[in-house]
């Protein structure tokens, strides 16, 4: 069965990958797609409602909302990918080590996971930001540093079931070292669940970033992000509905896209979960 056939069979996944690709294009082509300069202030045209000239209206400084949202897509994806990357790397290494070695190494790592899971994630992120500056890099890394626990559990479970398999014994028999076995022999077999976790993780990271930016502790203005446009939406809630409606819709569509793709990949790779 080739890729296209598979995609066609799973229409929801097709829709998800379509949305994900669309967003990727929008963020790559932002400089050409945005009708206006996203930082162009026009105080004579403040909070203008959507029109042919400004499809999604203008914000409190007269900037074109559509242009800011197009640039915001770039920020969202950047945060989503980097944060997820950090979480996946930490989660995979810790999960692989815990699952492969077992014993006290496993106990120590898993107790650490238990402890991290006690913290309401949003509290932990906010507390760390209170001590560091809320810059886009800090945000990405903090979201990643507080989001690896699920990946660790997943990878560990995979490693525990894989480490007793014959191919691992064979690799040991020919004298392969632990690192080689972990990364070259077992890890490729665990990639399926990591890929699913990564796809769903991007969605989660984008949601978290937007909430942080909305609260004013994420991506800082004047850099446009969907979350901080929504802050302006809240400040002008009684006069400018378009500032609240469109950026949120963009977040929703993005998250739906990544979730559909992630669940599609899971169904594809793990036939047991299919109904």
């Amino acid at each position: 069965m080739n890729l296209w056939e598979t995609l066609y069979r799973n229409k929801l996944m097709l829709a998800g990958s379509g949305l994900v690709l669309l967003l990727l294009f929008v963020s790559l082509l932002a400089p050409w797609l945005a009708p206006y300069d996203s930082g162009q202030i026009d105080l004579t045209n403040v909070l203008a409602s959507p029109s042919m000239k400004h499809l999604f209206g203008t914000d409190q400084l007269g900037r074109d909302v559509l242009s800011r949202m197009i640039w915001g897509a770039r920020i969202s994806l950047k945060v989503g990918f980097v944060a997820t990357g950090v979480a996946i790397i930490i989660g995979t290494i810790l999960g692989a080590v815990a699952g492969y070695y077992g014993g006290w190494v496993d106990s120590v790592i898993m107790r650490f996971v238990d402890i991290m899971l006690c913290f309401p994630t949003f509290f932990l992120i906010l507390a760390v930001i209170a001590f560091l500056e809320p810059s886009i890099w800090n945000i990405m890394i903090i979201i990643g540093l507080t989001g690896w626990m699920g990946v660790t559990r997943l990878v560990r479970a995979d490693f525990i079931s894989l480490r007793e398999r014959d191919f691992v014994k064979a690799a040991k028999a020919i004298g392969a070292g632990d690192l080689r076995i972990i990364f070259l022999h077992i890890l490729p077999n665990a990639m399926a669940s990591i890929l699913v976790a990564a796809t769903l993780g991007v969605a989660g990271a984008i949601l978290t970033e937007s909430a942080l930016s909305f609260l004013g502790i994420g991506v800082q203005p004047p850099t446009p992000s969907w979350g901080n446009i929504l802050t302006a939406g809240k400040d002008n809630i009684d006069i400018a509905w378009w500032l609240s409606l469109y950026p949120g819709l963009a977040i929703l569509i993005t998250v739906v896209g990544y979730n559909l793709l992630g669940e599609g990949i899971r169904d594809l790779l793990d036939p047991r979960l299919k109904k």
Partner: protein, 324 residues
């Protein structure tokens, strides 16, 4: 049973220690020392004051001694004094806001249980029906929607366009002049949107979980046995299947507690509810470190207690757990 509870509580001790270590680590993330930042914001701070603060936080001592004396302090319930202009003890500031946050989270949990379980069970019993499909879409959107955005939309629609519900605070300005029953109505009206928002995310998770659980239980042999001995479908589903499907949901509810508490920052800030979440947000914005640390610690301890309650309820409901 008692033995099980004691075992669970003992198991909490290392977790609790771990929590304090992470909190302590976060506290030392700040570039420079906490006192630098405190004095930087205050141009009047003298070198002498800085020294006094240094001594107060024992920053001149080795790190393990700092940790030990901090641990001794927090175990007495002393979370330090707020950096904000009121200089009140952090523990007092948290305690006065604690009840409202707990009340909203508790009510949200009840709403989640009351709504999500029937949705999940009905979806499973009528698998692939129109209801199941609609519920599926609802669950999917529930996972993807930013709740703060949903809150904004509801505020615009119900608060501004229709004017039915208040959009901020817990009480109207004329609250004190209202009759007692009108006060309750007033409070309830203020709580509708925040409660809807705080329970929304959890609804999706639990209903999906209930559906999956119920589907699994329905396929078990004992359900077939129940059907085979001629019990009515109603009896089979609601007596035999539901009980077994409900058990694991207790754990899921326990796991949803950190999310609920974390979410309180968002909805309390949006709806201007004077709870712990709003205090946390204000403390983060003002870099009021003792308050930030205090709430972070309390949030984690609340989660720990929530998990303990979930584990114990599970053991009460399911004898297999406490025996093994």
């Amino acid at each position: 049973m008692l033995k099980y509870i004691v075992k669970r509580i003992l198991f909490m001790v290392p977790l609790l220690l771990g929590i304090t270590i992470i909190c302590f680590f976060v506290m030392h993330l700040a570039p420079g020392s906490p006192t630098d930042l405190q004095t930087q914001m205050n141009p009047k701070a003298s070198a002498q004051m800085k020294e006094r603060l240094q001594a107060l936080y024992e920053l001149d001592k080795p790190i393990h001694i700092q940790y030990w004396s901090w641990l001794k302090k927090i175990s007495r319930g002393d979370l330090g004094v707020s950096f904000s202009s009121d200089h009140r003890p952090v523990a007092d500031k948290i305690m006065e806001r604690f009840p409202i946050t707990i009340l909203i989270n508790f009510l949200s949990l009840l709403i989640i249980i009351a709504v999500a379980i029937p949705i999940g069970v009905l979806s499973a019993v009528h698998q692939d029906s129109l209801f199941d499909k609609i519920a599926g879409v609802f669950v999917f959107i529930g996972f993807a929607i930013p709740t703060f955005w949903l809150a904004l939309l509801l505020m615009i629609f119900f608060g501004i366009n229709l004017g039915w519900l208040p959009i901020s605070g817990l009480r109207s300005l004329n609250y004190e002049y209202l009759a007692p029953w009108a006060q309750i109505v007033d409070l309830a009206k203020h709580l509708i949107l925040p409660l809807f928002i705080s329970s929304f995310g959890g609804l999706a998770g639990l209903s999906r979980y209930m559906r999956a659980n119920m589907l699994e239980v329905i396929r078990q042999d004992y359900i077939m046995t129940a059907r085979a001995k001629g019990l009515s479908e109603r009896n089979v589903i609601y007596k035999h299947a539901l009980r077994n499907a409900l058990l694991p949901a207790i754990t899921i509810l326990g796991l949803s507690i950190p999310g609920l508490i974390g979410g309180s920052v968002i909805f309390e800030t949006i709806f201007a509810i004077p709870g712990m979440g709003q205090l946390f947000y204000m403390a983060v914005m003002a870099r009021d470190y003792p308050t930030v640390m205090g709430i972070l610690l309390i949030g984690a301890i609340l989660t720990l207690i929530g998990n303990l309650i979930a584990d114990v309820s599970y053991a009460i409901a399911d004898p297999r757990i406490r025996v093994s």
